[in-house]
């Protein structure tokens, strides 16, 4: 199950469409790392709304993805974690430490817009 990655201006949006195998998740990570370089993207949103399970492998891979993309110059936001999924994750001990999480795509985009404006402001001020 490949994850479609849309380019929208400075951002990439990966909308997970169905349950993913571990291999699909690793492919997504690599694909995002490549495209962030290719499109010089400033922000990435991974929409996990449809995922009904976020287990330790998925959490670890998404956390690693966010860290990797930051090193490549893009901010990552995970959006759409459902309440029951959040509940199970917390019980398992998974907290996505160091990763930005937002309610949904809209909030994620708003976050990136604010984020990037501030970064540009800071640069101009220099």
């Amino acid at each position: 199950m490949e994850v479609p990655i849309l380019k929208q201006g400075d951002y990439l949006i990966a909308s997970i469409q169905a349950a993913l195998t571990d291999e699909d998740l690793l492919k997504l990570r690599d694909e995002l790392a490549e495209r962030v370089g290719k499109y010089r993207s400033r922000g990435v949103i991974v929409d996990v709304t449809v995922l009904d399970v976020m287990d330790s492998f998925a959490s670890r891979t998404l956390t690693a993805t966010a860290h990797m993309l930051r090193l490549r110059g893009a901010e990552t936001v995970i959006v759409g974690i459902q309440p029951e999924v959040a509940f199970a994750m917390v019980q398992l001990g998974l907290t996505l430490e160091g990763v930005t999480t937002m309610l949904d795509l809209e909030e994620g985009l708003a976050f990136l817009n604010r984020q990037i404006k501030t970064k540009q402001g800071a640069k101009r001020a220099r």
């Binding site: 349950a19 195998t21 009904d52 287990d55 029951e84 019980q91 398992l92 001990g93 998974l94």
Partner: protein, 137 residues
């Protein structure tokens, strides 16, 4: 366990696609047994963790899902079984953060927290069996 399991579903686990199948089956069996809401997510998550351990640490194994009861309590019985190398130190493996791989080491202790009953038996060279129960509320 005869008598306890009335109808059961067995899922062969040997690749990471089977992990996805197992968690979907777990959700489906649990739904048939009358579970709903966050309990379905918890059951699917537990199975995902146990099925992944089979793929990661042994060649192959199986997941067995079925009904269980205790007095008036009704629930789901989940067994993850393999004939892999076994776990040398089960007490250590049950600790948060302990992993012989490069992972988080939360699979076993975290899954125990998700379940109402969690029992693990492992014998070196013979394999590992994890027996779990979740009761309906």
């Amino acid at each position: 366990m005869p008598g306890e399991i009335l109808t059961e579903v067995r899922i062969l686990i040997k690749s990471d696609a089977d992990v996805v199948t197992a968690r979907q089956q777990a959700r489906s069996v649990a739904t048939q047994l009358g579970f709903s809401g966050s309990d379905l997510t918890i059951i699917a998550t537990a199975i995902s963790e146990m099925a992944r351990n089979i793929v990661s640490y042994t060649g192959m194994g199986e997941i067995i899902l079925g009904p269980t009861h205790h007095g008036t309590k009704q629930g789901i019985l989940m067994i993850a079984r393999d004939e892999g190398p076994g776990i040398p130190n089960v007490a250590k493996a049950m600790q948060d953060g302990y992993s012989t791989g490069n992972s988080l080491g939360l699979g076993l202790p975290g899954t125990k927290r998700l379940m109402d009953e969690f029992d693990i038996v492992s014998e070196m060279g013979k394999g590992t069996t994890v027996t779990m129960k979740k009761w309906k509320r």
